[in-house]
């Protein structure tokens, strides 16, 4: 599954890991994250994320 990177702080959203600290279970694709989800490290908006290389 495609990973996504925060352009502000470099955090990588890895769908295989999810974001358990914010209730996102492992296996959740980036597209299924709510629009209100934000970077757990710096708070950047979901819409600012870019596909990671």
């Amino acid at each position: 599954m495609q990973k996504y990177e925060c352009p502000l702080c470099g955090y990588i959203y890895d769908p295989t890991l999810g974001d358990p600290g914010n209730g996102i279970i492992p296996g959740t694709p980036f597209a299924e994250l709510a629009g209100s989800w934000s970077c757990p490290d710096c708070g950047a908006d979901k819409e600012d994320f870019e596909p990671a290389e």
Binding site: P7, L8, C9, D41, C42, G43, A44
Partner: protein, 417 residues
């Protein structure tokens, strides 16, 4: 945690300085600082904290902890620190938050505010029992007879960063933005040499804000849109901007845009003079081709001086000898530092002399690639001492890079018109 410093007596040399109708500067001057987490600070620095004498007595940021006495003495010259009602942390880094636990020990009833990310960061720093209140982007903190409006500036330069605006005195408190490491007895920029202000503000931008240049432009746009009347821009380091708020805002726009230029930085070190000969020949070629080369020998230059010079450069040429099959240590230091700063719009070249192996040139090439520096010519690696032919090749490569720089700059300027 160590014990809270005693409040200095009336014989303390430190006094608060009024900067507007309701606000006093109560910070500290660190004349001796020469290294700020790897950034050389030859002029020292200041840690600016501000006391607002509103109905609710308010402290904006604190100072680095070894300077707690100085800050408390300045506060005590105006008001008993126990009377502080509100503390606002615009930035969680310890040169500004370091005395928060001491202030809370003196004023246990005070309300401590930070951005939502600041709440997390301060919690992870100080593990306080005292509650920390989140103030969201655009929200106001009521100080009774006036208000403080908080605007988040995430990643400028930490996730927690915010600025706060005091409408009553038209002051924008900007945490690290618009600051510089410059210890002075004067508190206002218009009392200081503009050339030094430009140099040190640029130095600060280059070493701290370059990775977030795109965000700087967004914040500048937002500030312009808000059109807040600003009599004073009050950063957390260095002098405050009063008469000349437009100049620092203009400089930030210039530095954040990172437009292509024809300045070419040649950063190198050398073991027996061969990589240096190549560097000097490249400079001749760059100058002949119409670029402005600048050589930086790493044997006598600090990484943060390289970052400063790179801010307005269009090309980065890096020369390294190979030492025990690896990058020369000074070159490794600088390249890893620059990689983190993510300067945009650079072209470059890896070069160097070696006795055998020659791995360093390949390693430079790989690091430049990772830094997204476009390498318009192939790396140049030679054995031992350069011949006349090699130096002629360096001159030709320099000229070729200069021509590329001029074309890119011209293209950019044409697009701007």
């Amino acid at each position: 945690m160590s014990t809270c410093p005693d409040i200095p007596g009336a014989d303390s040399p430190y006094r608060a300085l009024p900067i507007s109708d309701h606000v006093y500067w109560v910070g500290a001057v660190d004349w001796a600082l020469r290294d700020f987490h790897g950034y050389a600070t030859e002029r020292g620095t200041t840690y600016n904290a501000f006391l607002i004498l509103a109905d609710k007595v308010t402290l904006i940021d604190t100072v680095k902890r070894p300077f707690a006495d100085e800050m408390f003495a300045r506060i005590a010259s105006v008001i008993d620190p126990a009377k502080i009602d509100v503390i606002v942390s615009d930035h969680s880094e310890m040169d500004h938050s370091g005395c928060l636990p001491d202030v809370l020990a003196r004023a246990p009833h005070a309300a401590l505010y930070a951005s939502p990310n600041g709440v997390k960061a301060l919690t992870d720093h100080f593990h306080l029992a005292h509650p920390i209140l989140a103030v969201k982007d655009g929200e106001q903190i009521d100080l009774g007879n006036m208000a403080l409006t908080c605007l988040e500036t995430r990643m400028l330069h930490w996730p927690d960063s915010m600025v706060s605006y005091l409408d009553a005195d038209r002051i924008l408190f900007t945490n690290d933005a618009f600051g510089m490491h410059y210890a002075t007895a004067e508190r206002f920029a218009d009392d200081l040499d503009p050339a030094i202000l430009y140099h040190e503000a640029k130095n600060y931008f280059a070493n701290i804000l370059t990775p977030y240049a795109g965000l700087v432009l967004k914040v500048l746009d937002r500030l312009q849109g808000l059109a807040l009347p600003m009599d004073i821009i009050a950063p957390d380091h260095g002098p405050l901007w009063r008469e000349d708020t437009e100049s620092i805002l203009g400089w930030y726009t210039e530095w954040a845009e990172q437009c292509p230029t024809t300045k070419a930085l040649i950063v190198y070190d050398t073991m027996w003079g061969s990589t240096e000969k190549m560097a000097r020949a490249l400079a001749e070629g760059l100058a002949a081709g119409g670029a402005q080369p600048k050589l930086i020998p790493l044997s006598g230059s600090h990484r943060s001086d390289v970052a400063l010079e790179l801010l307005d450069a269009g090309a980065l040429l890096v020369g390294s000898p190979t030492l025990n099959n690896n990058l020369f240590p000074t070159v490794a230091d600088v390249l890893y530092y620059l990689k983190g700063l993510r300067k945009q719009n650079l072209i470059g070249l890896a070069f160097g002399s070696c006795g055998w192996g020659g791995e360093a040139v390949t390693q430079v090439q790989e690091l430049l690639t990772a830094m997204k520096v476009e390498q318009v010519v192939d790396p140049l690696k030679i054995k031992y001492v350069p011949t006349g032919d090699v130096l002629a090749r360096c001159v030709a490569l320099g000229t070729q890079i200069a021509e590329t720089l001029r074309a890119r700059t011209q293209e950019h300027n044409d697009a701007e018109v």
